[in-house]
């Protein structure tokens, strides 16, 4: 367990995503109406950043080929996703957003 500060709460507006590149693998951080969630960033279908995707109601749609994933659980919501994505633990402390970048897991 090693939570690290990755950005400020104000860096990611509600409905937006941000790619976090400081850990062993890129992570996509999303702000779902004030709640922060993090999943592995690289879409397992088309090698594309999910942080660049379209976030709607807690589900991110990969902007390249439209696979969809739940940002809370990492589960597949639409094909062509070949597998679920890993979820990373997130904490908000004051104005800081922290992610345990070593603890990505498939749920």
């Amino acid at each position: 367990m090693a939570f690290v500060t990755v950005c400020q709460v104000s860096d990611v507006a509600p409905g937006e995503g941000r790619r976090i590149d400081v850990g062993p693998e890129p992570v996509a951080l999303f702000n779902v109406d004030g709640e922060f969630h993090a999943i592995e960033d690289t879409c397992p279908h088309g090698d594309w950043s999910l942080a660049d995707g379209y976030l709607d109601d807690g589900i991110v749609e990969c902007s390249l080929h439209m696979a969809k994933f739940c940002v809370r659980t990492g589960r597949i919501c639409a094909l062509p996703a070949p597998r679920a994505v890993k979820v990373f633990p997130v904490q908000v402390q004051g104005s800081n957003v922290l992610i345990d970048l070593d603890d990505g897991r498939l749920r």
Partner: protein
């Protein structure tokens, strides 16, 4: 024992339909008939990563674990005929397979023009993994390649081959590249990009003969120009595979004619994907030759086969990678109305919209996938917009989707 659902064709449509049937809770027998030797795969990469050698094999449609979880009886053969009275599928070994429902996902084959020399050596088309592997083995730097047909596949092959160091010439019979896929204006823009990469493009180039035996050495045009070459790729379109459907008596017209539920003219027989002429939201019907539409059709037809309500006229949606650009399109960019460009016209990354009667009818994004996610929703909603406002990049695109949210953001 109840007869199984039989799916003919183990490509994208067939596999996605099997997945959708299980997801909808169907737990009866499921038979998947496919005539290709390799596990079911995605075709879009054939002209890109597989052809370049960046990926040795195309991505699989689902993992071996997921495939076995589908509990599908896979039969590696060709379906020879359908008997609609007994509702059974005759296989090439003579077996007759009774079915409670039959789904035809037989795809399309490359159209081959009736020209002298199309059967010569070093003349290729590209539909299957086998085709891609055969062509890949010949794509050596310094060789000359003629691509006949400047549509999506032709332009993708030209991109890949030119990056590998071949001298590429595209011969397009029409007045512009990609006219059917992108309309003339964007087609023109893409042609400039290809030309900047060193691809030679000849428009209005009518081929009358492929010269050379046993292997092609030149392509001859109607104006008697000879384009000397080592290799020829024929990419002049696809023909829906309708043989067994037509022989069974199903209505076919440039594809197996289906309703928006996937039903053919014969009770109990359904069709999806490139084989099917599916109704469009804007009217008419056609084979869409699109990955995303085929996936959507598979979901719809799966529900229809289970007796669940389903009908989904399609809006053609596709993506391509040409001359280093990611191009995504929804709807038909040709047609009535005006084209509106966002991000200024003809910069490296931009959006193009077709507006008709004040509403967004189609959209294309060039290297702007994030904006395309919004643009697609605008097309789906047939959103009414002011052309000048749409072109103004200082206003967020999302604002057109939710006008209320946009005005809140601005305040």
């Amino acid at each position: 024992m109840t007869a199984p659902i039989v799916i003919v064709g183990a490509g994208l449509g067939g596999v996605r339909a099997a997945q959708a049937l299980r997801q909808e809770g169907y737990d009866g027998g499921l038979v998947l008939i496919g005539d290709e030797p390799s596990p079911s795969y995605e075709r879009p990469e054939l002209s890109k990563a597989v052809l370049s050698g960046a990926a040795w094999t195309p991505p699989r449609l689902c993992s071996p674990e997921e495939f076995s979880a589908l509990v599908v009886t896979s039969i590696h053969t060709r379906a020879r005929a359908i008997d609609h009275r007994t509702r059974s599928v005759a296989l090439s070994d003579g077996t007759a397979l009774p079915a409670i429902a039959i789904l035809l996902a037989t795809g399309a084959r490359a159209r081959l023009p009736k020209l002298p020399g199309v059967q010569s050596g070093n003349v290729f088309s590209l539909r299957t993994q086998e085709d891609a592997e055969a062509l890949r083995a010949q794509l050596k730097p310094g060789r000359a390649l003629v691509v006949m047909g400047g549509g999506l596949i032709g332009c993708e092959v030209a991109t890949t081959a030119s990056a590998l160091g071949l001298s590429v010439t595209i011969l397009e019979a029409g007045p512009e590249l990609l006219e059917r896929a992108l309309g003339a204006q964007l087609g023109h823009w893409v042609r400039r990009r290809l030309e900047a990469k060193g691809v030679v493009v000849r428009l209005d180039a009518k081929v009358i003969e492929i010269e050379g035996a046993p292997a092609a050495t030149a392509v001859v045009l109607r104006d008697e120009t000879r384009v000397v070459t080592d290799l020829v790729v024929i990419s002049v379109g696809a023909e829906p595979v309708t043989d067994i459907a037509a022989a069974a008596g199903a209505t076919c017209n440039a594809g197996i004619v289906v309703a928006a539920s996937g039903r053919t003219s014969i009770e109990g027989i359904f069709a999806i994907g490139d084989a099917a002429a599916w109704p469009l939201r804007g009217g008419g019907r056609r084979s869409l030759e699109s990955f995303l539409n085929t996936q959507a059709q598979a979901r719809v037809a799966a529900r229809s086969m289970l007796g669940l309500a389903a009908a989904e006229p399609q809006i053609p949606t596709s993506w391509t990678e040409i001359a280093g650009q990611t191009i995504q399109v929804m709807g038909d960019l040709r047609g009535e109305g005006e084209l509106v460009f966002r991000c200024g016209s003809y910069t490296a990354s931009f959006l193009a919209f077709r507006l008709h009667a004040g509403a967004i009818a189609a959209a294309a994004a060039i290297d702007a996938p994030r904006d395309f996610a919004v643009a697609r929703r605008l097309v789906e909603a047939a959103a009414s917009v002011d052309p000048a406002a749409l072109a103004d990049t200082s206003a967020a695109l999302r604002g057109f989707l939710r006008p209320a949210a946009a005005s809140a953001e601005q305040s």
